[in-house]
Amino acid sequence: MTSETRQERAPAKPAGGARPRRRARYTALVAALAVAVVAATWLAVSIGAVPVALPQTWGIVADRLVPGLVPHTWTPVQEQIVWEFRLPRALLALLVGAGLAVVGAVLQALVRNPLADPFLLGISSGASFGAVLVLILGAGTLGGLSLSGAAFAGSLLALGLVYVLAQRSGKITPSRLVLAGVALAYLFQALYSFVLQQAQSGRAAQQVLFWLMGSLGGARWEMLPLPTAVLAAGLVYLLLQHRQLNALTAGEETAVSLGVNVHRLRITLFVLTSLLVGVLVATSGAIAFVGLIVPHAARLLVGADHRRVLPVTALLGAAFLQLVDLAARTINAPQELALSIVTALFGVPFFLWLLRRRSVDRAVTVG
């Protein structure tokens, strides 16, 4: 032992200044994002074919929550449009945006690859296939849960397949991952297209096809509880596991050496992401790129620690999809665009930029 290492150094202080500042910045960021979510939702509820002034939107919502709180300055038609159509749609947009973004963040940790996204990996297509089977083949009479259930089964199947196909002797390579995802997406799209073609009613098939590209047009109040519950439970679980997620991101063997039960964590994350994708796709169809873009943006803002990444991802995703949906129904009004058309405008350039980055090309050891 050298004398130099024996010397008592002054206790390390430098963390003192940086940490609280960083914490304050994070708190400010979360607050700003929460404001952005509310503002985007407020706008989305007010804008449309029948315009409603911003204060009136508040009034309608407040009046519903606490009757008689504010004087009525709006027409019954405005009230009906805001309360029965736009508000549930806007809330669903928040849920789906937050949910898909969180799923993207979890998948990226799970396969340790920045290209992971429920749509790109064919998971959304698997869920869509399950949903289409129920919609067209008539099991729809069983109600919302069976639609979600079928979508969940489809996404679980797709995720399992992509995981197996992307591996070669224990390693997931990015190219295999993306190719396996693309192949599966085509397979499931072919399958549900076949089912749609065989369908009796061409109009119903047309509607389903539009919905498959992502649409919140069918939003109703009764569609909200299930995704809300699944997303809330999922987020709580993921936040409790944020240290395990961080360790997994650092590598499977690192995670093992840090005391993480990797096998069990991975299975739980598999089921959780499939469940989220299934429940969300059942309400809104498959929306591309949200799960790819948003987690990266969140990491740019707050770094890689999942304790910060997950809440920021959820808020960003919610605000993002709210604005995307608003754009989708106003750009070409009265026609609505499918949401994936709008997200692709942002998503494709972003995806190409990610592909050009060197870090994407690294093979990753698993299992």
């Binding site: 050298t2 206790p11 430098p14 963390a15 650092a250 499977e252 770094g303």
Partner: protein
């Protein structure tokens, strides 16, 4: 703390990689494991820290079967510094070091304190907010040593911790872990590539070849020309040559 490996065999994809290995590391000892590429030394290490399961045999740490402990408990007994961890995401150094607390309940304030002390100890005081991916190779390895320190284990495993480093930084890391081991009374087992380095740093060493532990003991007794030529199929010639030593200066 004692690591006791007895009759451990490991198979990968059905092929036997390690065959009935025996190995012992005691408190305060720095033990090296050497052998040619593909001899099974890394596989044996990974089995000790539970990335792999043995096909047969028993690995005990402090008398308990490692593979029978809960994942958290075994991580409270054994810390690992492997080859440079590829950093896909932009974790800060502080976040990387704090990962060492994963097997423990959260205690935010004390953990920050532990993290600061460990970074100070490895010569990276105040580096918490730096991005891990931007560190030099030597600094990355020191950060990983700090992570192992906050894990507060009695056994430290080093799996080729110096393989990507130049000779100065190799010596720096080896000095650091040996000093820490002596200071804290850790049992340390290291896989090293360089025979001269292994001989210079360890109290004892084991030589593996073709999945078997052929010999173990103090380096001057084990590393005979006969054994080396048998294991590496090279001729060992003892002659005066350049020896690298670290300059005594403040953390250069």
């Amino acid at each position: 703390m004692r690591l006791d490996v007895r009759g451990v065999s490991v198979h990968l994809d059905g092929r036997p990689i390690v065959h009935e290995a025996d190995l012992l590391v005691d408190d305060g000892e720095f033990v090296c494991l050497v052998g040619p590429n593909g001899c099974g030394k890394s596989t044996l290490m990974r089995t000790i820290y539970r990335a792999l399961r043995p096909a047969s045999g028993l690995i005990t740490v402090d008398g308990d079967d490692v593979h029978g402990l809960s994942w958290r408990e075994s991580a409270r007994r054994t810390a690992v510094v492997a080859q440079e961890t590829p950093a896909e995401l932009d974790f800060t150094v502080g976040e990387v070091v704090l990962m060492g607390r994963t097997p423990y309940e959260r205690a935010a304030a004390e953990d920050e304190e532990r993290c600061a002390r460990a970074l100070d100890r490895v010569g990276l005081a105040g580096a918490q907010e730096r991005i891990y991916a931007t560190l030099s190779g030597g600094e990355k390895q020191r950060a990983l040593v700090a992570r192992a320190l906050v894990q507060e284990t009695r056994l430290l495993l080093l799996d080729e911790p110096t393989s990507h480093l130049d000779v100065r930084h190799q010596l720096e890391i080896l000095h650091l872990v040996r000093e820490l081991g002596a200071e804290l009374g850790l049992a340390t087992l290291a896989v090293l590539h360089d025979l001269n380095q292994a001989a210079a740093f360890c109290d004892r060493l084991y030589v593996m070849s073709a999945g078997r532990v052929l010999a173990g003991g103090p380096p001057d007794q084990v590393l005979t020309p006969e054994l080396i030529s048998q294991v590496y199929t090279v001729r060992a010639v003892r002659r005066t040559q350049l020896v690298f030593e670290r300059l005594k200066e403040e953390d250069g």
